[in-house]
Amino acid sequence: MTRANIDVERLREHFRTMARIRAFEEAAEAGQKSGEIRGAVHLSVGQEAVASGICANLRRSDYLVSTHRGHGHTIAKGADVTAMMAELLGKAGGTCQGKGGSMHIADFSIGMLGANGVVGAGIPIAAGAAHAVKLRGGSEIVACFFGDGAVNRGPFLEGLNWARIYDLPILFICEDNGFAATTRTRSLTGGPGPAARAEALGIPARIVDGNAVEEVDAAAAERVTRIREGGGPQFILAQTYRLKGHTAHDPATYRPAAEVEEKQRRDPIELCRETLLLRGVPAAALAADEAAARVEIAAAVAAARAQPWGDESLAWRDVQDMGAPA
């Protein structure tokens, strides 16, 4: 699928999803800078096309396993942004009752089995979810996101091998934003990289421009179809760029300004806008989409802010049944 033949309405939907993710991330960044949002917040600004392009091919019943940089995936899978923002603010109405925060955001009602504070830790969990689907003869698939930094952890090798030997319905998405925390991943990664590693384990891999949402969408559509037809695990390496720092507090001074400027010209939302303009969608309509996204997120922030903190007893709940703390 090329830019010329993607369905314009589908692309417009991507534009809206990406605009919503961007607005959410900007609000999260502002909240972190004001101190209202605590802990560590990892923004996916610049990586929205990966989340939108992949998740557009998932069903509500499909599972998703995410990373510490997981807001975009969660929104694209269909989570309620007010509940998400409430989670970031630590409110009882948050997706996790304010007990997880940004790094542990999860929404089981849409199959989102959790972000993870440990790099690469989601890969075996995703493999296990897919294993369970296969055991019970289910039709769901699992989408497993991880970053380029994760490919140097053991669970990457173990999880991909596992998915291959048991022939599991799982789509691995390596979201390569160029940085493992604050260091360039390339300088720390031996060999030709993540896709070659997947291929070496017998998992077909495809490399896509992770900033071109229509490319991500097309690759995901093809891979997801293969998985649903029983083709086993598939791998997508989506090459993108993290426009912000590792955390919202990281100014990312370890990279030249010129590089960031150049990458900003490849902002996935701007690339998508260009294509839509070429396809005849009026600029004002796209601006209206973005304004609507900002309004929606501002309302989510206001609603989440108005929510109460959880009762202190929440801290004592859901630890375990046997020997529950008293």
């Binding site: 396993v65 009752q97 959790g114 296990g128 369970a132 630890v319 046997m322």
Partner: protein
């Protein structure tokens, strides 16, 4: 009642639970051929390779996959082969299994059992002999079970499989051939309940797992000299049966805790401290010196708590 070994009892419990609940499955290295100790022998034939799942030597993924599979509604029984190898899967157990329910605000449960064979056995040396139960008892979210008899291995494994929490289930390798009466098609035993093995009014000795055999011998020796020791098998380390232990210690006013694990930082300290805080009774702990376990028998023996040590420790409390 049927006479069977500790190993057979565990196998029987798993088989019965697998027949009872199709969501139960087991995964681990070499399970298709019966497991490293034979504790899964015959199960692949009955339940097939999907439910008795042979895995690669990938401890992190075995445990992590079990977490994912548990979160979406199955009940995995994880075999770690030797508890020492479970250290390759600590993130998956401690950061994932033990935390998922809590940090996701109760949206999911992780009803898995991790079978971790523990303890000194046939000169297995430093990486195949450890008893690290205290580590797991320290982690909120985990249940820790240490059966010491065939009947307990049967009833407690059933209970662990039915439990909705992640359970670290530590069988002692030296107990595999131990025989005892087990009620076939029997009930699950309650987790968190200790058992009084021997009644006595002079002191309370609390122990668990393999070292209980030595504790029983020591109690016999003490009885021969007119000292009546009450011996308690704790059976579950978390949640531990405070009620039974404290009631006994309140009566005897003397408490000795004995474990195979290293004494420093061991779970015996928790029990002794609780009894001292709650009752003001005299307490003593016995465990291994803070040494890795050596290979040669006379060197390995340095880590074993002996009958003589238990008797001597008991005497210092009288």
């Amino acid at each position: 009642m049927t006479l069977m070994s500790y190993l057979e009892a565990g196998k029987r419990a798993l088989a019965e639970e697998m027949r009872r609940d199709p969501a139960v499955w087991a995964l681990g290295e070499d399970l298709g051929r019966g497991g490293v100790f034979g504790q899964y022998k015959g199960l692949a034939e009955e339940f097939g390779p999907q439910r008795i799942c042979d895995t690669p030597i990938s401890e992190a993924c075995i445990m992590g996959a079990a977490v994912g599979a548990a979160l979406v509604g199955t009940r995995p029984v994880v075999e770690m082969r030797f508890s020492d190898f479970a250290l390759c899967a600590i993130d998956e157990l401690v950061n994932q299994a033990a935390k998922a329910r809590y940090m996701f605000g109760g949206q999911g449960r992780v009803p898995l059992v991790v079978r971790e064979p523990v303890g000194m056995w046939r000169s297995s040396a430093a990486q195949h002999s450890q008893s690290l139960e205290a580590w797991y008892a320290h982690i909120p979210g985990l249940v820790v079970v240490t059966p010491s008899t065939p009947a307990d291995n049967y009833g407690l494994l059933k209970a662990a499989i039915r439990c909705d929490d992640p359970v670290v289930y530590m069988e002692h390798k030296d107990l595999w051939p131990l025989e005892g009466e087990v009620e076939a098609d029997g009930e699950a035993l309650p987790l968190g309940k200790a058992r009084i093995l021997r009644q006595g009014g002079d002191l309370t000795i609390v122990a668990w797992s393999g070292v209980l055999r030595t504790v029983r011998q020591a109690a016999e020796a003490l009885a021969g000299t007119g000292v009546a020791a009450e011996v308690i098998d704790l059976r579950t380390l978390y949640p531990w049966d405070r009620e039974t232990v404290l009631a006994s210690a309140a009566r005897t006013r003397r408490l000795l805790v004995v474990h195979e694990a290293v004494a420093i930082g061991g779970f015996g300290g928790e029990i002794a401290a609780t009894a001292a805080e709650e009752l003001g009774v005299r307490v003593k702990r016995l465990g291994a010196p803070r040494l890795p376990v050596a290979y040669a028998p006379p060197l390995e023996a340095q880590c074993r708590v002996s009958e003589a040590q238990i008797v001597a420790a008991a005497r210092t409390l009288l």
